[in-house]
Amino acid sequence: MTRASLSLKLAALAGLAFLHIPLLFIVLYAFTTEERSYAFPPPGYTLKWFVVVWERTDIWAAVGLSLRVATLATLIALVLGTLAAGGLARAKFFGREPISLLFVLPIALPGIVTGIALRQAFGLMEIPFSFWTIVLGHATFCIVVVYNNAVARLRRLSPSLIEASMDLGADAFQTFRLVVLPNVGTALLAGGMLAFALSFDEVIVTTFTAGQQSTLPIWMLSELIRPRQRPVTNVVAVLVIAVTFLPILAAYYLTREGEAVAGSGK
């Protein structure tokens, strides 16, 4: 293999830096002593804002709501996304393509369209905004994440494994429990984690389905539009990075190991 030219290496490195430097700045600002502006470099460093955030009940309430919504939306998406993947992974019937398009649509169309559409429907059916309206919206676009992960793994799963299981006396349910689930389990877990991260972070659809409730992203958005508590926002931003990074990292390693396991079946 030939070596890359210097200019290509530099361009690639610059791209990587572009992707990561803004995140580093957020971490830096969490420690600044400056309260009223985004002055750089920070005039001094302190840990006191972490203490302030720790004592803010409104932020913890928002975190709690976000966590509850994400958990429930993920569970619904896991069930529906897995069913959809099971139905479509090897199906060859007429109408397969439009159906798989339907599963991808909530993430392909702009979030604002989904959000307003849901709000209109709630209004039409006189459903008041609640915890459940947020979950409903989130589950809708989380399905696709689970579906994509599950369908990819199911397609790699050798069909003869399922035949072998039935051949040895297992019925459809035993086969699902003893063969299919253990082999797609990590993909489902990864899909679930990504769905969780997606829901925990979602703001656009939530704006339209939350009413007066405040999830963590909604709280952040109001701070972004009208900054009133900059240092607190800085710390919350770091916390959000931490909460979303872990499941994403876990999902990455789960799918990688899963590939090794599924690939060894051959």
């Binding site: 069930v79 959809a84 139905g87 649509l105 702009p110 990504l194």
Partner: protein, 315 residues
């Protein structure tokens, strides 16, 4: 010799077994049972809502009472072509195009390096380095840029230190792209969009480039093509489906976004903001629905073209 075993399933399993018999024999029934719950959810909750909303684009609004007139008309759709509204559309599409081009330019060297030169470990690291920003919090990323772009922020400070302060001022003084500070300008908006959607461009581009066999590039070299010529005639055409696939994301995501323009943008609206204000404060749902049709139509057109170019293999 293996002793015999008896096939005696537990009684409670009997019904399950019979159900299993049915599902194994009628495979289509199984597929149907699997698909019904997700289809019901998406069909009723999602498609239903979508239809209810978008269908209102053929209604109009009574200018005096502000109520929706439920009679089919094309007037609302025609309103999109009024100069003020048409400006919004053109502005948004131009921004989306600029973002797409920037993403392709910044992303290509990364995707190309990872596909052609990186070893397996470096490749895994690259993948993770692109995935992490892709999945990390959208608002936090915007927030990071707000920190960077603020007048007193890091970019201004670094420009000052490098003696580029006057150059930055000159750029901000330019008509269209400038503004009072980077955080209130189109330049800032395009930068933030580019940052947000860059991973969506890199991944399909990388997938497409991975599929260019290195023997092909070597063959072109053996046949006497210069590196530049090889790049233009072999690599670029083969990478194009990946770029188109990436552009689907960068374009669609930019068209529908209203948060970045709200935080980084100027007072001139883009499409997402128009939809947002029309359904909210203005209460003009029909026109809001009409605006919403634009990104959907643009994307449908885009997808049809992309499908013809085979861009989906790069997804």
């Amino acid at each position: 010799m293996i002793p015999a075993i008896l096939d005696t399933p537990a009684p409670h399993e009997r019904t399950l077994r019979r159900l299993s018999d049915l599902l194994v024999r009628r495979h289509n029934l199984l597929v149907l049972i699997l698909l019904v719950p997700p289809l019901l959810w998406l069909g009723m909750v999602y498609l239903g809502s979508l239809f209810v909303f978008l269908a209102q684009s053929i209604f109009s609004i009574d200018e005096f009472s502000g109520t929706i007139v439920r009679e089919p008309t094309l007037a609302t759709l025609a309103e999109l072509f009024r100069p003020a509204n048409f400006d919004i559309l053109m502005r948004t599409v131009s921004i989306a195009a600029a973002v797409t081009v920037l993403c392709a330019i910044i992303g290509f060297p990364m995707a190309y390096y990872a596909a052609r030169y990186a070893g397996p470990r470096a490749k895994a690291a690259f993948y993770l380095a692109v995935m992490m920003p892709l999945w990390s919090s959208y608002l936090v990323k915007i927030y990071g840029w707000k920190l960077l772009l603020a007048k007193e922020g890091a970019i201004g400070w670094i420009a000052g230190r490098l003696g580029l302060g006057p150059a930055l001022e000159a750029w901000l003084a330019l008509p269209l792209v400038g503004g009072p500070s980077l955080s209130v300008s189109y330049t800032g908006m395009v930068l933030v969009f580019t940052y947000l959607w860059l991973p969506f461009m890199i991944l399909p581009m990388h997938a497409a480039l991975e599929r260019v066999p290195s023997s092909l590039i070597e063959a072109a070299g053996d046949l006497g093509a210069s590196p530049g010529r090889t790049f233009r005639t072999i690599i670029l055409p083969l990478a194009l489906p990946g770029v188109v696939a990436g552009a689907i994301f960068t374009f669609s995501l930019t068209l529908g976004d209203y948060i970045v323009p709200q935080i980084i943008g100027t007072s001139a609206l883009v499409l997402g903001q128009a939809v947002y204000t029309l359904q909210g404060t203005a209460g003009n749902i029909p026109l809001s629905a009409a605006f919403s049709l634009v990104p959907i139509l643009v994307m449908a057109l885009f997808l049809t073209l992309a499908k013809k170019m085979g861009a989906f293999d790069a997804l």
